[in-house]
Symmetry: C2
Subunit: 685 residues, 2 copies
């Protein structure tokens, strides 16, 4: 379950800065304007042409919930993972109708359920704006560099997208500041749920099987994009091909990998290994423990906590996997050697200078500020609403170019949607998260720290959390809307305790961000541009940038791997589920599987692995064959892929996908949806 | 709160193997037969003579609960920390009489409360048996070495202590196998509680203040040793000196540091940093979270869980501090340099050879076996009872020299006492710990691992834990006694589910231990002896061994330290408590402090720091002045002392103690105990 990790990506600073050596076979999350067709042709004897790539790009969907997807019919039908829409099922559930547990099959389009915060986005253009941004930056440094860059980005985005209801413009920094590209999207901000299996069918094996293979998971679902209350017409879509994948066949995975750190320098990797990861694993493990226990208190809490727990456990597995990778000298020595090689190749080039030393300094400063930055950011949806409201009120009155990045004209529509969409709030869960985060703040900052005193005053973390959660009215979307519409005067006049709390933290949070911009963000952006030049100079232009939750394509092939002397097969069958089932959670059969055992074709290929290079954010990505048809949906990586944040190992890293064949079987037998079967079969060609 | 950490020391293998460079000033946990008087004299202008050392040694007490202490009257009165006897308060409490919360003052000796599992031990002789053990080992390697060593140790212990009711003999390996010493103890297996303040007085500041300074903690208590139902006469005892410590004055801390790893080689340190610590922090943080939440469910659970939570939080802080130290290149580079220096000094010495490479191999093997070893050991008292019963039954029928170390004739009396002493069992707490440990086993071993299947069968961790805890009768000491007395046939015939479970794991646990002995323990013991020789050859004999929970003496002086440009003062006053109190836990005043504020002398020195070198196990150690009088009880280290497991930094490492003056104030004002005041004042000289 890859994508949930991005929900828990800590602190917002983007770190992409240095550059690894050229991609090995199958390594690479390539942008659509720089696909390495020649390299692929030399390895595979075939590669797609630009027309093929354009066709696929037009069918690829980014979901603002943090996942990837694709159009698979002419009526806006979207294939993605079950875990990408679990929150939607959860938010549309109540004590008497648990959609997460029972699954959901819409009888017809009128029956489809809105998904809060979810928006579908399709890339319509990619434009290079590197020169424009770089000249705005000029020779600036530190905070000034960040401000100038962000102001120019805000201006380009505003100029390029005038229809904010239907389009979205986003400038992304690639290669850590080496390139800037403007991505233009067609967006659909009304996304509804059409079909989902039972949670147990999607999460069979649960956390123990997550990131493992062989696997037996129906991690698939269908959404539909709407506009003006009607399904949208999507002539650009992938053809549905419910067949078994073949070992060795070429596969493409097209989606939005969230973030990788393959271009990190040694001091950035050291920060991860020595500071960020140990702290993250410790505090998140405690949250996991608190939540596991709380969910045992009642069936209602069990249901209400499930979505958050899934996210936490997924993220933890990611962070533990990264810890293991960065504590493996065989893995890290390779990264160190790559850096040494680039240094040697760049030696004496005055235009490049020594960005590595600049990054060392930026990271030393970050170490000094990190704990304060991290722990002055309390957790929970209600605090998140309050913080967004307080910030938006202050930012919206500023000129566009002077605002914080999330509050520019181009960013505001999604910020507003996320804030105002209706979704349930469970006070006990808010209390648990907020109390935990405040108690960890005191633990890591120390009881005598000024930031601890700012957060807590004389209250205990638990009492403060309880007071804020029980007193705030922000769970009500109408209250949030009134504060959003009321702007700064409404925020200043508010006596909502959560708003008061967010107001009290705002100044310090801005001060810390400014400090980080000056000492770390600015230096990293400047050094990143130099490192990109070093890399292009040493290896040419055929490189892929670190992931940025923008559209990428990975090529590879269906195939298992060898591990500790045994071969892991490339696929499982539906029949295997029944052999693996123990009757005890999370290895208990989904009821629809148990009920239909005799009717299920056990020879159907269930899940399969391929060598495609993906990471969190890619969840829901279509797996596409050479013909351009969708034969599956990627939903996970194997355990070795967790080190993939820092480097790809072609021998071991694998993408895990659910086959279109298995989804078809589910649509026909376990969770019958004859309308969808018909819609998917209506091939466009 | 130092000593609790040893409760959570993972896996039993002793690792002490290599040797650091000679001690810097104040560094060192010295054995009483090798005190560096000359070195101290050169630094301080004074050092104790052997008569002084002998007198102190005869007053020093080891508590089998994992702490240190001292006799402070002629009637067996023992000074130790509150946190060392918190379990005793907890086990003597119930819903209507919460001794932990309320404190306890015995009206007279008849009123004193037995402490389960607690035994007081006083060293009466230290004998060198190095030659004896080394010739038994000869040229053996691997498992054979371990067996021969342990057999000879068992024989020496049995020969040397014939009165098992009043004496205990224990051979310890020092310098990782470089020396073997026989410690003979006078023991008192009936230890009772005489006086303890309220928990909040001892734990004011709670986990946030733990390992910090300035500090305001009354972490002191009094026990009494009994024999044949009467207080024992202890003519050898320290004089009580309830005065303020003076900055710069010489202090000795005499106690039993549990374990240090200062002699670890680079590959042993790498194992800690890369494998053991990350895993430990992750799983223990989750346990902490589960327990925190469970304790919020009722006042009863709050009370029943407090002791375990305190232990977990203390250990976690230790492990997180060690993680920080081992992730600090400035700290670890020094350790690496010391190793390089020793290698250079030993170069070409054929008798030493290359023990470093041998240790690398032993640690590679340990990495391969560690996860299985760790997670085939479930948690909880009830499982612990079952495991001890199953093992003891099998071991006791073997000849003494062939038994596992904990089950030799010399070890059995304490094992039996620990097993049969009456103590409360809280099923929900057992369930929580066992379920957690089984679920972590599945997570780290993997759902398909054979050890996971051995542990769980087809059950879920939660269901299995629930079934075992609800079905077992082992909470009843009489049931345990019957199984202990019944021996192997009783164990084999038992249908107690926990016994059945322990039986099912026993074979695999033994197999793993054998594997570890062969591939890691044996090679480490052989290499450790070589490294000790290298160290003695390079630096002479004036060295101190790693801590082994045997009696040590550390010298130093009263003094604060400088940190981030500010000076941390050497002491706090009782008045400071009232300034620091916020009214919210854990910064709420103990009721007896609040009630007596007007009567408390606020100028009394409360807690103080000194440069003495201590670690977990030292808790409760007397702080002794030059005259040999007790002026405090050590209860903690500062935050920098957490790296002290691997190396001592004289600029930053500090011991934290509660002053005898503060304890006296408490005995007179807050928790009046006129009998004890009188008893303590009856100076022997």
């Amino acid at each position: 379950m890859i994508s949930r990790s991005i929900l828990f990506a800590s602190v917002a600073l983007t770190f992409t800065a240095a550059l690894a050596t050229p991609a090995v076979a199958e390594e690479g999350m390539w942008t659509f304007d720089a696909f390495p067709a020649e390299q692929m042709r030399s390895e595979y004897g075939w590669a797609p042409d630009q027309a093929w790539l354009n066709r696929i790009r037009a069918s690829a969907v980014r979901l603002t919930g943090g996942c990837s997807a694709s159009f698979v019919s002419g009526q806006g039908l979207i294939l993605t993972n079950h875990h990408c829409i679990a929150s939607c099922l959860y938010e549309n559930s109540n004590d008497t109708d648990d959609l997460l547990k029972n699954g959901f099959v819409a009888a017809n389009t009128r029956d489809e359920k809105k998904c809060a915060g979810q928006q579908a986005e399709i890339v319509t253009a990619i434009t290079d704006v590197t020169g424009d941004i770089k000249s705005a930056i000029g020779t600036m440094t530190g905070e000034a560099l960040i401000k100038a860059r962000d102001a120019r980005i805000a201006a380009i985005e505003t100029e390029s997208c005038t229809d904010l209801a239907a389009t979205r413009c986003q400038v992304v920094s690639l290669f850590g500041g080496g390139q800037y590209k403007l991505y233009t999207y067609r967006k659909y901000s009304d996304v509804r749920l059409a079909w989902a299996p039972e949670d147990r069918a999607a999460t069979f094996g649960g956390d123990p099987d997550n990131f493992n293979f062989p696997r037996y998971s129906l991690d698939a679902s269908f959404l539909r994009a709407y506009e003006n209350g009607k399904p949208v017409a999507t002539p650009n879509h992938l053809a549905w091909s419910p067949r078994a994948p073949k070992e060795g066949e070429i596969t493409f995975v097209v989606g939005n990998p969230g973030s990788t750190s393959r271009l990190f320098t040694q001091s950035q990797l050291a920060f991860e290994r020595e500071v960020r990861l140990p702290m993250t694993v410790a505090v998140m493990s405690e949250l996991r423990g608190r939540l596991i226990r709380a969910m045992e208190e009642s069936a209602q809490k069990e249901r209400e906590g499930l979505d958050l727990l899934g996210g936490i456990e997924n993220s933890l597995k990611v962070y533990i996997g990264r810890t293991t990778a960065l504590n493996d000298p065989a893995f890290t020595d390779k990264l160190a050697q790559e850096e040494e090689k680039l240094k040697a190749l760049s030696k004496g080039n005055a235009a490049i200078g020594d960005p590595w030393t600049a990054i060392d300094g930026a990271m030393r400063a970050y170490r000094a500020n990190y704990t304060a930055l991290r722990f002055t950011q309390p957790s929970g949806d209600l605090y998140g609403y309050a913080q967004a409201l307080v910030r938006a009120a202050a930012e919206r009155v500023k000129p566009n170019g002077e605002r914080l990045p999330g509050y520019t004209d181009s960013a505001l529509p999604l910020a507003e949607k996320r804030l105002l969409d209706e979704r349930p709030v469970y006070p006990w869960l808010e209390d648990l998260q907020l109390g935990w985060s405040l108690s960890k703040a005191r633990e890591y900052l120390g009881a005598d720290d000024l930031d601890t005193k700012l957060l807590l005053g004389k209250e205990s973390p638990e009492a403060l959390a309880q007071r804020l959660v029980s007193g705030t009215k922000l769970a009500d979307p109408a209250v949030r809307k009134a504060l959003w519409d009321g702007g700064q005067s409404a925020i200043e006049a508010s006596d909502d305790p959560m708003i008061i709390f967010a107001r009290s933290l705002d100044g310090r949070q801005r001060e810390l961000q400014k400090l980080i911009n000056e000492q770390t963000g600015g230096p990293l952006a400047a050094a990143g541009a130099k490192l990109a030049d070093a890399r292009f100079g040493a290896y040419g232009e055929k490189l892929y940038p670190d992931a940025t939750f923008t559209l990428r394509i990975s090529y590879g092939k269906v195939g298992g791997w060898a591990e500790r002397g045994r071969n892991v097969p490339f696929a499982t069958t539906m029949g295997g589920t029944f052999e693996r089932a123990t009757g005890n959670a999370p290895f208990d059969l989904a009821p629809a599987f148990a009920a239909n055992e005799a009717r299920i074709d056990k020879s159907v290929t269930y899940d399969f692995v391929s060598t495609n290079d993906i990471i969190g954010g890619n969840s829901g990505s279509p797996v596409i064959d050479r013909a351009g048809n969708v034969i599956g949906a990627a939903f996970d990586g194997n355990i070795h892929s967790l080190g993939g944040n820092y480097g790809y190992d072609p021998l071991l890293n694998r993408t895990v996908s659910v086959s279109a064949e298995a989804v078809q079987e589910a649509l026909e037998v376990m969770y019958p949806a004859p309308n969808l079967v018909k819609e998917l079969a209506a091939k466009k060609r």
